[in-house]
């Protein structure tokens, strides 16, 4: 029951992201969608992924979005085209049709092969042993992010700010 409610809330928040014209409200809706997604992850016993989703996606990414929106406060939000909103109902019907077809096909491909792909292994074993190379990738990515931000906001010597 909690799963169905969480998924319904998740989809509602995603629709809110699309429908809200104010970017700040969309960012808050994204945070709420992340919270409901972390509830879903908890329900499927993916506890560590749920904690990551809650702290990083619902916390950090929302802070980044809100900061960016406030730094670009006078941006051209108003000139956003109204065409997407007008076409949204038709697009939604089309997306739902494609979605149902894809779900039926993928479920047929996925479900009969229900044999275990490592049921007995723990997250610790998978993360630190089987997929240990991923950790190097993650460390490199974090460094890429840090140096990327440093490069973006670097101020040349002798200049107080970007022009």
């Amino acid at each position: 029951m909690i799963l169905w409610i969480s998924l319904a809330l998740f989809m509602t928040f995603l629709m809110m992201i699309v429908l809200f014209r104010d970017l700040l409200y969309s960012a808050v809706a994204l945070a709420l969608a992340s919270v409901t997604l972390s509830v879903v992850l908890f329900l499927f016993k993916a506890n560590i992924a749920a904690v990551f989703e809650l702290s990083v996606c619902a916390g950090l990414i929302t802070v980044l979005f809100v900061s960016t929106i406030s730094l670009t406060k006078n941006s051209d939000q108003k000139i956003e085209s109204r065409v997407p909103a007008a076409f949204l109902p038709f697009v939604l019907v089309l997306l739902l049709a494609i979605d149902v077809g894809l779900t039926v096909w993928l479920a047929r491909e996925m479900l009969p092969a229900g044999q275990a792909g490592g049921t007995l292994t723990s997250f610790k074993e998978v993360f630190w042993t089987t997929r240990a190379t991923d950790i190097w990738g993650q460390v490199s990515l974090v460094l890429v992010g840090v140096f990327g931000i440093l490069a973006i906001f670097r101020v040349a010597p002798g200049r107080k700010d970007h022009e």
């Binding site: 699309v18 879903v40 479920a107």
Partner: protein, 102 residues
Amino acid sequence: MNEEIKMLLFCGLLAFMLGLYLLLSHRNLIRIILGVEVLSKGITLILLAAGQARGAIPFIQSLVVTFIIVETVLAAVMLGLIVLVYKTHGSLDIRLLSKLKG
């Protein structure tokens, strides 16, 4: 159990398509990054459905954690770039960013 997996797949695919719609239909750079985020939420749900169907939740958890890190770094760098674009161009409309055209 099968119904749960089907529902996860349905919601994941719908979220993926909504993200794609946001990416394709809007011109504001921040909204485009929001589209990427929505798309990634869909992918997380689809990964979870696959893990549940195969009984490999620990394996999928490790993939989801890696994916969240990728998503965060992408968002941080892209939002930094957006601030820089706003400082130089005074606009976030993607149509006005034509200075890189060859």
